[in-house]
Amino acid sequence: MGVGIEVRGLNAWYGKNQALQSIDMTVPANHVTAVIGPSGCGKSTFVRCLNRMHETIPEARADGSVKVGEMDVYGDGSDPVEVRRRIGMVFQKPNPFPTMSIYGNVAAGLKLNGFRNRKQMDELVERSLKLAALWEEVKDNLHKKSGASLSGGQQQRLCIARALAVEPEVLLMDEPASALDPISTSKIEELIFQLKQHYTVVIVTHNMQQAARVAELTGFFLMGSLIEYDKTEKIFTTPADKRTEDYVTGRFG
């Protein structure tokens, strides 16, 4: 089951550049929450702060409080590796491990974390590929084909399966469909809709229709600040803030 996320006073920097300014946001469990905004508004930085991926970039740092379920992400003694194990991530460009088979890709997170039970691993791989709606297309070539040999849309679903295999509680998606064609995009969107039964999903998108289609809640970011955060319908029909209205009606960005 998914868990909720509570963000309080989150700041993030790249060197001396402040990319996020005291963000407060509460993401409910087992919902899909979309993060929208123009390029460079900090939406990617925001989700990367949730699982401490932000700090893997040289000179990048963050402070503030992020609680994911019971876990204090930025607490003393919190281990970023453990955080990332519990908060899965899907990236903008499909990034399967190029030298590994389809099975190897999905099992990588388990194997490299010391998981040894072969039978259970087979089950987890199958379950994850089914959840990612890829099983039927690849089940005959699990070991024969490399992950990189799949089409772009399949690769992205493979990456989703790979993230799900380690059984995270939250799934972060950073523009997961922006590099895909419309058919693959709609498959991913359908999938996101299914996933919220088991996971809390936060999705970054620059495609407002996509946010409207998949998300129950939407947050609008502008220049490193969270301008408005509400039910998706409200954001797109009667936003409270003038800047949100300008953005969703296409007046800028």
């Binding site: 991926m53 040289p58 030298t99």
Partner: protein, 287 residues
């Protein structure tokens, strides 16, 4: 030879296209010529002296006909094994350090040092190992020969490993971090593995380069007319044996020198090819 140009492309462009293609193909052929010429010449000069005795016997004293270089073949293998045990882990290890951890001043210093070491004449490496190992051990040895060659392998392997790791897209590393895989594990099981084809090529280049080295062995491994399998004893090596025989006044030894050179090249090419085949088979076996 040149790509057919579509209609309506100007004569000038077609000419320069054709010219460039001819130049590139010609250059490629020119690269192949010396290699094939050397190999053919060795084959002509050396094949006559390659026989069972040559491959199974130790050298005969001067004046006696026959004998072989079996001890030198084994000695070369022994020295190269020691060199690989030293050169591969240190070279790959420092390459990993340079690519994944040392994107800073200290890394630049190491990088510069490695490049300088790469340019140090091989005989100088031999002298250094002579004073560091041989003098202390008080005699020549296979070990010191292996150390000299191993040191020469390190910078080549380190720089190749670094370059290959830097070519691994960062999104691949991010994917691993995102799965909660620790950095050291990501480096070994994801980045290094993704770069493995290039890293292995670098290792093979370094190996092939030192396999034929003679100068650094002159006062380390020293050479030996008899069998030796002990690491702390003077040891024969093919390159040394070829050198000794080639500058000798005996006709029979000259022939054997050609044969030795031929065997050395065949062994190096064989080793490189074997590694290539083994790794390309193992490449896609899943994680």
């Amino acid at each position: 030879m040149s790509t057919p140009a579509p209609q309506g492309v100007s004569l000038g462009r077609r000419l320069s296209n054709g010219g460039a293609t001819v130049f590139a193909v010609g250059a490629a052929i020119l690269v192949l010529v010396p290699l094939l010429a050397i190999f053919a010449y060795l084959l002509i000069k050396g094949i006559g002296s390659v026989n069972v005795a040559f491959l199974t016997q130790t050298p005969k004293p001067p004046g006696e006909v026959g004998g072989g270089m079996a001890n030198a073949i084994v000695g070369t293998g022994l020295i190269l094994a020691v060199a690989s045990v030293i050169g591969l882990p240190l070279g790959i290890g420092s390459g990993i350090y340079l690519a994944e951890y040392a994107r800073n001043r200290f890394g630049d210093v190491i990088r510069f040092t490695a490049d300088v070491l790469n340019g140090v004449p091989s005989i100088v490496v031999g002298i250094a190992v002579y004073s560091l190992v041989v003098v202390r051990q008080k005699h020549f040895s296979a070990l010191s020969g292996g150390v000299a060659l191993g040191i020469m392998m390190i910078p080549t392997i380190a720089r190749a490993t670094e370059e290959m790791l830097l070519m691994v897209p960062n999104v691949v590393r991010e994917a691993a971090y995102g799965l909660g895989i620790p950095k050291w594990r990501t480096t070994l099981s994801i980045s290094l593995r993704t770069a493995s084809a290039g890293v292995i090529t670098g290792c093979m280049l370094a190996f092939a380069r030192v396999a034929g080295e003679t100068a650094p062995l002159l006062f380390t491994a020293f050479g030996n007319q008899f069998w030796n399998l002990k690491l702390n004893q003077p040891t024969a090596a093919l390159s040394l044996q070829v050198f000794t025989y080639a500058i000798s006044p005996y006709d029979d030894w000259h022939k054997q020198a050609w044969a030795g050179a031929l065997i050395l090249i065949v062994l190096i090419v064989g080793a490189v090819a074997a590694v290539r085949i083994a790794t390309s088979r193992g490449m896609l076996k899943g994680a």
